[in-house]
């Protein structure tokens, strides 16, 4: 028995319990409920994985006779779920890393008043994320898609008394909604052209129709990709992710690094059979991914808040994943998704540990010299920094390499994108080591705080994730791809032989270069940010994130509000429509006012009108007799 429905249901029950009763329960019980739920999910997934590994279970497992959700006319959507290689890998990541982060949160959020609320939301998130991953049709996926957006909104704005947090949550939801708009159009297109939203049916129909390429499929793919840019923070809808750092750090780790933001990548992989038929869409995906990777990396170079650096790093790494998808190297993208989940979650959790150690400070310029004071945090974070920089034989080394190699092998556009990826790798190493040096090395710049190591509930997860960051890639891209190929299609991804090794060497060299420059600039006691000194204008541009938020504000938000208020409300609603109504009423009143003068109260005028009326009536009655006409038909004579 696989108990697959329990995977989302356990966290949902956890949400209900903690949400309804958590306020009154003791912390231990709340933690217990909150930890048992993801544990159940993880155990079930692990069990399924073991069965697959021992070949007792063949994938895919498609749920038969799933209960119907909406059934009207020709539209039939059910709650169907699917377990194949892709979703199994994703579920392992989601529930595994999710569980680890739940444990971490117990320590991190211990002092917080909204402890029960936090875990309720976290469980809710896990529920929706597992629904998304397990979805057998696009509408169910959309349920999970929007649902994780909701959980994200609730968790980013967790400390809702802070205006900045509430704003960030709202921004995240709305920007996500813009992406969802694209997703919805994609759904409509799918429904209109295939009559169904079930992935297996659409894939089957496409297979039966090998000539179908481009055109409608490009439109569908691009619309779905718009949704992905929203959820996975790519250009131009990435702006919510850095602000999302207002939420508690474990939230940033789980949702905005490891799982939710990777939903877009997962979705593209899941619907690869559509993207495969549209080279144009794939190119768009690859270009956007590479551009985002570079763009975000440049911003990350100069950020001073430790979490912001990591946020931009996440955007950048997601770009890598989309680059992988765009060159049809889906399994490489998913491989990187997995390794990224390990090291990015680790980075965030370690950053949380650092922040916890220095009493809430997040500005790296006020850190320094923490290496000796918080050793476990230091060593685990070092593993993560090495991993993300592509240090040989660590997890990201294999995954990043797989993507870059696939890009290089994909035509001339691919080579350009490969180069962009290479530069980004160098930048990545640079800013990560910058962070490393600023935080852990040099003199202690903040003497008010006495840094202390975090409790083991927080350190334990760090260690586990560090081990995964180091060893998580040893399965190798080739075998990983082979495992996933039944669900992702067979692909020849790697470039042949020697050029692959050359690319690998180049990638490592880029990382080393980034490290070296950071080492030169930051491994010294001085506090000044080296980059600021060299190009102040460029620095400002980057520090202000290219003013993108300001541009969006003045190009979209403010004009919309001004248009709504001044034109729509004042002119159309009040002046025109209100004016028309007022006009009609005015005509009626005017008519009334005029007629009113007749009622003067003056007896004589009434009498005069009476007499006049009687006279006129008399004329009418007598006229025929006077003028000899046929008359009004009244028989007056009585004869």
């Amino acid at each position: 028995m696989l108990y697959l429905p329990l995977i989302p249901l356990a966290p949902f029950v956890g949400f209900l319990l903690n949400g309804s009763f958590g306020r009154r329960l003791p912390k231990a019980v709340v933690s217990g409920i909150a930890l048992v739920a993801p544990l159940i999910s993880f155990v079930i997934v692990l069990h399924a994985a073991l069965l697959v590994w021992s070949s007792s279970l063949t994938l895919p497992v498609i749920e038969q006779n799933a209960p119907s959700w909406i059934s009207v006319g020709a539209l039939h959507v059910d709650f169907g779920s699917v377990l194949d290689q892709l979703s199994l890998v994703m579920l392992l990541v989601v529930t595994g890393v999710g569980f680890i982060i739940h444990i971490y949160s117990v320590g991190y959020m211990h002092e917080d008043q909204g402890y029960w609320r936090y875990f309720a939301y976290l469980n809710l998130f896990l529920f929706f994320m597992t629904v998304l991953v397990q979805a057998g049709n696009a509408l169910m996926m959309f349920v999970g898609w929007e649902g994780v957006g909701l959980a994200s909104y609730l968790l980013i704005g967790f400390w809702f008394q802070k205006d900045s947090a509430a704003n960030a949550g709202k921004k995240a939801f709305i920007v996500n909604r813009i992406g969802d708009f694209g997703f919805l159009i994609g759904l409509f297109l799918l429904l209109a052209n295939f009559g169904t939203l079930t992935f297996t049916e659409i894939a089957a129909r496409l297979e039966a129709n090998p000539a179908m390429t481009g055109g409608i499929l490009t439109a569908i793919a691009l619309c779905l990709f718009v949704g992905a840019t929203g959820k996975s923070a790519q250009l131009p809808l990435y702006v919510w992710l850095p602000d999302a750092m207002e939420g508690p750090t474990p939230v940033s780790a789980l949702i905005h690094a490891a799982t939710m933001v990777t939903a877009g990548v997962y979705m593209v992989a899941r619907t690869h059979f559509i993207f495969d038929r549209s080279p144009l869409a794939l190119s768009v995906v690859a270009i956007v991914g590479a551009a985002t990777a570079l763009f975000a990396a440049t911003i990350g170079l100069v950020q001073t808040d430790i979490k912001r650096v990591l946020a931009y790093s996440t955007v950048s790494q997601l770009g890598y994943m989309f680059l992988g998808c765009g060159v049809a190297a889906y399994s490489a993208a998913i491989f990187h998704l997995m390794t990224h989940a390990f090291f990015k979650a680790l980075l965030f959790l370690a950053a949380g540990s650092v922040i916890h150690a220095v009493g809430g400070e997040q500005d790296m310029r006020r850190m320094g010299g923490l290496r000796t004071k918080i050793p476990v945090t230091f060593w685990t974070m070092t593993m993560a920094v090495l991993a993300i920089s592509g240090f040989p034989f660590m997890s990201a080394f294999f995954s990043k390499d797989a993507i870059l190699a696939a890009a290089f092998a994909s035509g001339s556009l691919g080579k350009v994108l490969w180069f962009v990826g290479l530069v980004t790798a160098a930048l990545t190493a640079f800013y990560m080591f910058r962070l490393w040096y600023l935080t852990f090395f040099g003199e202690t710049r903040n003497h008010d705080v006495h840094p202390h190591e975090s409790p083991w509930s927080m350190l334990g997860p760090l260690v586990i994730l560090a081990l995964l960051s180091v060893g998580g890639g040893w399965i190798g891209a080739g075998r990983f791809g082979a495992f996933l190929s039944p669900s992702l299609g067979v692909r020849t991804e790697e470039a042949a032989g020697s050029s692959e090794y050359l690319l690998m060497v180049l990638a490592v060299a880029a990382g080393a270069l980034g490290w070296y420059i950071a080492h030169r600039m930051y491994n010294r006691p001085s506090t000044a940010d080296g980059l600021a000194a060299t190009t102040p204008a460029g620095y400002d541009l980057l520090a202000n994130k290219y003013y993108v938020d300001e541009i969006y504000g003045s190009a979209i938000v403010k004009p919309l509000l001004a248009f709504s208020k001044y034109f729509l409300e004042w002119i159309v609603d009040v002046a025109i429509l209100g004016g028309l109504a007022w006009l009609l009423a005015g005509i009626a009143s005017l008519g009334g006012a005029i007629l009113q003068r007749w009622q003067s109260g003056n007896l004589r005028s009434y009498a005069a009108w009476l007499a006049l009326g009687a006279a006129i009536l008399l004329v009418f009655v007598l006229a025929p007799y006077v003028f000899g006409a046929s008359g009004i038909g009244l028989n007056l004579t009585g004869h």
Binding site: S600, G601, N602, L603, R604, A607, A611
Partner: protein, 109 residues
């Protein structure tokens, strides 16, 4: 005994009708022009009586008693109306201390 016979000139019917019409017009004009409420009232009575005259005339002409009976109805209504109307006039005078028709205009909108 010829001297005893009165010459039975019939007053021509038209003259009665003419008289009726003239009286009626006098009544209307009085109703419209007069300022004093009691005079207005008298004009109304004049109109009613003018009509009575014409009823009687036609009754005589057509040798029907219906007209004369109708005169009774009219006289009855006139009497009732006079009673009520005079009561109203007294009330109006008590309230407004005037019987000038123009000054009793509280019913204006």
């Amino acid at each position: 005994m010829n001297s005893l016979h009165m010459v039975s000139h019939e007053v021509p019917l038209a003259w009665y009708l003419l008289l009726s019409a003239v009286l009626f017009c006098l009544g209307v004009v009085g109703f419209l022009i007069k300022r004093n409420l009691i005079t207005v009232f008298m004009s109304i009575e004049l109109m009613l009586n003018a009509v009575n005259l014409s009823f009687v005339t036609f009754a005589h002409q057509w040798h029907q008693v219906k007209g004369q009976i109708f005169v009774f109805f009219v006289m009855m209504v006139a009497a009732a109306e006079a009673a009520v109307g005079l009561a109203i006039i007294i009330a109006v005078f008590r309230a407004r201390a005037t019987l000038a028709v123009d000054r009793i205009d509280l019913m204006k909108l």
